[in-house]
């Protein structure tokens, strides 16, 4: 399949003119990486091009030798690769996340990566781009996904903490992005007690703090006692682990856009669903696509059918782009990626 300057190969989206892949699923010669979630950023490429933050987060996760060679690119900077002008622009998803813009002979293609439109104190805000071909994610590509106001969800968590002061509130969060965002949102709501975290969140949280994001007093939960009434952040998979049982009558919350659908929260045994997402909701996806002014829309991972239907009606050339392997958040790197 042809997608602007790109073709779809088994390893992922490929640009023949520049001889590079975007977020390839298996090791390749040259890879451009949108952001550091495990389903987009894999180890073992010969050359990697990404923002400095994405490269640093990949090194935190995979070790310093995750690629043969790396090159960092700043937001807004343009590189020429085989006659293709490649530039990175904020996607608002997690720290370092980028949309990739490709331009050649006046034709412009934008690959959104994962993105959200809502302001997030832990990363640069999404920049709208204009292009001919837009490749959008669609994690929440159904009109039932209209995320709640984030501040109200944090209030819900704090209200529950006041109501059940004897119970530890365990909050399931993805290790990269969601964990740090929830801590920052708690601070913005005036919460000044220590926030406890599972060991699996530690390295990435430390990197965010080094990168200058203020998160206040963050402590490791292990060995801190059973923490009645405290907030403990952990990977979603740890909510049902033996690990969770050492806390005082744990009450399980889960911060994710998926909890908008009751069955999802219930299926996971969640008692307090928090609709906090790092992906655009239906309104955000529609508004973004509209703003790109694109003629061709390709919709990747998640739920592409509704967006394709909607934008065909508005006269766009819209197609689903089935790339296996994205968005399967818990497949191989359980705690990390991003709903």
């Amino acid at each position: 399949m042809q997608a602007g300057l790109l073709t779809l190969k088994p390893a992922g989206l490929y640009c023949a003119a520049g001889d590079f892949f975007i977020d390839p699923l298996r090791p390749v010669g040259r890879a451009i990486i949108t952001h550091a979630h495990a389903d987009h950023a894999r180890a073992g490429h010969a050359q990697v091009l990404a923002t400095a933050e994405t490269l640093a987060l990949m090194a935190v996760r995979y070790g310093e030798n995750f690629a043969g060679a790396t090159q960092s690119v700043a937001y807004g900077e343009t590189l020429g690769i085989g006659g293709v002008a490649v530039s990175f622009h904020p996607a608002g998803h997690v720290l370092g996340s980028a949309q990739i813009q490709l331009e050649r002979g006046g034709a412009r293609t934008v690959i959104s990566g994962d993105y959200k439109r809502e302001a997030d104190p832990t990363c640069a805000r999404f920049t709208p781009l204009v292009c001919d071909t837009f490749i959008s994610e669609a994690t929440f590509g159904l009109p039932v996904f209209r995320h709640a106001k984030t501040a109200a969800e944090i209030d819900k968590l704090l209200a529950s903490q006041r109501l059940f002061p004897e119970r530890t509130h365990l909050v399931g969060v993805y290790a990269l992005g969601k964990a740090q965002r929830v801590i920052a949102l708690l601070r913005a709501a005036g919460y000044d007690r220590p926030v406890y975290i599972h060991g699996a969140l530690e390295k990435i949280t430390a990197y965010y703090q080094e990168a200058g994001i203020a998160l206040g007093d963050v402590r490791r939960a292990t060995g801190a006692g059973d923490l009645p009434g405290e907030l403990v952040l952990c990977p979603p998979t740890a909510l049902n682990d033996l690990w969770s049982r050492k806390f005082a009558e744990p009450l399980t919350a889960f911060a994710s856009g998926w909890t908008r659908v009751r069955a999802h929260a219930r299926q996971r045994g969640i008692e307090l669903p928090l609709v906090i997402s790092d992906h655009a909701d239906w309104d955000g996806l529609c508004a973004t696509i509209q703003e790109t002014n694109c003629e061709t829309l390709l919709v990747t991972h998640g739920e592409p059918d509704a967006l394709v239907h909607c934008f065909r009606q508005r006269g766009l050339n819209a197609e689903p782009l089935h790339i296996l392997g994205y968005g399967d958040e818990e497949a191989d790197a359980p705690p990390e990626t991003g709903a």
């Binding site: 159904l142 009109p143 039932v144 209209r146 908008r260 659908v261 009751r262 069955a263 999802h264 929260a265 219930r266 299926q267 996971r268 045994g269 969640i270 008692e271 307090l272 669903p273 739920e303 059918d305 509704a306 239907h309 909607c310 296996l324 399967d328 818990e330 497949a331």
Partner: protein, 545 residues
């Protein structure tokens, strides 16, 4: 409405029975009359307004949302009420008039004519927020599904006054929403309401499952044995009210089902006694032979009770127990005595649709085990037998599931190894997961062996296994047909599932010619190659008649 909607929402997430009780009791304590009474009526299924059919709700949402977007959303969410609640265009002005209370909502619905209902419902939905819309739609489609039985709700309300659910049950059929007299009694403000219902429901006595090993510790002579009939457990209550004879048929949980069985109600009305309460099994009997559950199910599935249905599926009660007779409560008598009275009652009643569940004479567990294994050779009317029941001869009739008195000893399930072929997204708790699995077995075909679908199962696995199965489906999809995915299967690839089931019927509706009863996934055989799964011939040997 908001407080009730919030209660339903919390109940839906609350896993523990105790937690649900506490949430409900707290609601009854905090909310005033008459709202809480309507809340209790909603939780016990006692509301009487005109229910909206799903088709009406679809019509309303199709007028407001692109049908294609609605269908895609519904497929994902798996629950009509929730999908509509999420998609319904919200209020533009959040500071508008406060949302209506539960009592007001219910009065509005009760007074709405059929013609008005769509407009009335739409106006209510406009006035509520997402949780409120969800709760209203659950109410009006008659499917709350928040994991609360009528019994649990009654227990929660009983706890207001330190009473038990049985105390409420004794009064229940004489009460009506919004239960002002009940709450007044529970809160010590008024005397106990008069339980004057002449045909009230007595909470049913249930049995524990038992294994052969556990039986070894029990003395055969202490027990009476009967067949375990595979129909629906019912209670028939007949009495004389101020306006004549009252005849009611209740389900095991106390829901009245008389309307669906006019043939039985008619038969019971002609019994010699004017007042009795009978515990038994509802079965279909044709030409003196009890029919398999599958036949009964065909009657249960019909919405309209037509003359043809009544003559093709004659309903029948096989009596287990006599709970009351001519105004006397028999429940405190030992089973052996009640049984004698029951035998005399059935003989005197001379009702064609009523007979006695026969006792199985046995002297040892081994003898009974042989009869359970092969009811036909033990002389039984075997098509609807799913095991044997054991009742202590000295057991009084205790509501609920008391320990050590009654046992059910079900027949062992059948098992077969089949190959996963298709998966579909589930509904309710499992929506958006691929949780409905169609599986097949091998049969000979012109081009060599092929897999033919033999059934569909959607439970038997744990939540953790469900996630593995869901991932397996996503990673092995070869074809998509709307909500259905076809997965890779063949001699050299495919996932083998061990399927347990209760029986097998011949079916012209299925390509394979067989239909399984109560199939579930017993085990996932990650280790077993698909080529080694079972063949259709193996199944055909198990077919009943």
């Amino acid at each position: 409405m908001n407080r009730f909607a919030a209660l339903l929402d919390r109940l839906a997430y609350e896993p523990s029975r105790l937690g649900k009780l506490r949430l409900m009791t707290d609601y009854f304590r905090q909310v005033g009359d008459p709202d809480r009474g309507f809340g209790l009526a909603a939780l016990t299924g006692a509301l009487s307004f005109r229910l909206a059919k799903p088709a009406l709700i679809r019509m309303l949402i199709y007028e407001r949302v692109d049908p294609v977007l609605f269908d895609l959303s519904y497929d994902f969410v798996g629950d009509l009420s929730e999908t509509v609640a999420l998609l319904w265009p919200g209020k533009a002005d959040e500071t508008a008039a406060p949302p209506p209370g539960l009592a007001e909502v219910i009065e509005t619905l009760e007074s709405a004519s059929k013609l008005d209902l769509p407009r009335v419902l739409a106006r209510l939905l406009d006035a509520l927020d997402e949780t409120g819309r969800w709760a209203l739609l659950k109410l009006i489609t008659g499917a709350l599904r928040v994991g609360v039985s009528a019994r649990l709700a009654k227990q929660a309300v009983a706890e207001l006054g330190g009473y038990s659910a049985n105390d409420i049950e004794d009064l229940w059929h004489g009460l009506a929403p919004p239960y002002l007299d009940l709450f007044a009694w529970l809160e010590g403000r008024e005397a106990r309401p008069d339980p004057a219902d002449p045909a009230r429901f007595c909470p049913a006595m249930l049995a524990h499952a038992v294994t052969e090993k556990e039986l070894a510790a029990l003395t055969p002579a202490d027990f009476a044995a009967e067949w375990k009939w595979d129909g629906i457990r019912v209670q028939a209550a007949v009495g004389r009210g101020p306006r004549g004879k009252i005849i009611r048929l209740y389900s095991r949980t106390g829901e009245e089902i008389s309307a669906a069985f006019p043939d039985l109600v008619d038969g019971l009305g002609r019994a010699a006694s004017e007042s009795f309460s009978l515990d038994g099994e509802l079965l279909i009997v044709r030409d003196g032979r009890v029919q398999a559950f599958g036949v009964l199910q065909q009657r249960l599935n019909r919405k309209q009770v037509t003359a043809a249905l009544l003559s093709d599926f004659p309903a029948h009660i096989r009596a287990y127990d006599l709970l009351a007779l001519d105004g006397e409560d028999l429940r405190a008598l030992p089973f052996a005595e009640r049984r004698q009275k029951l035998e005399a009652f059935v003989a005197a009643a001379r009702v064609e649709r009523l007979d006695l569940s026969p006792e199985i004479a046995f002297a040892s567990w081994d003898f009974l085990a042989a009869a359970r294994h092969d009811p036909a050779s033990a002389g039984a009317d075997w098509a609807a037998i799913e095991g044997v029941m054991l009742k202590r001869r000295d057991s009084i009739y205790v509501p609920g599931r008391p320990k050590g008195l009654w046992y059910k000893w079900k027949r062992d399930p059948f098992a077969v190894d089949a190959v996963l072929m298709y998966a579909q997204r589930g509904h309710g708790k499992r929506s958006s997961f691929y949780s409905d699995f169609t599986f097949g077995v091998w049969r000979a075909a012109t081009g060599g062996d092929e897999l033919v679908p033999v059934g569909k199962a959607y439970f038997g696995f744990t939540d953790a296994e469900l996630r593995l199965l869901d991932r397996y489906v996503r990673n092995h999809t070869t074809n998509r047909f709307g909500p259905v995915r076809e997965v890779a299967y063949g001699k050299d690839e495919g996932l083998v599932l061990e399927i347990a089931f209760e029986g097998l019927n011949r079916s012209s509706r299925h390509k394979s010619g067989v239909a399984m009863r109560f199939p579930r996934i017993n085990r996932i055989r990650w280790d077993k190659p698909a080529r080694e799964a079972d063949r259709l011939e193996t199944l055909e040997r198990l077919i009943i008649a």
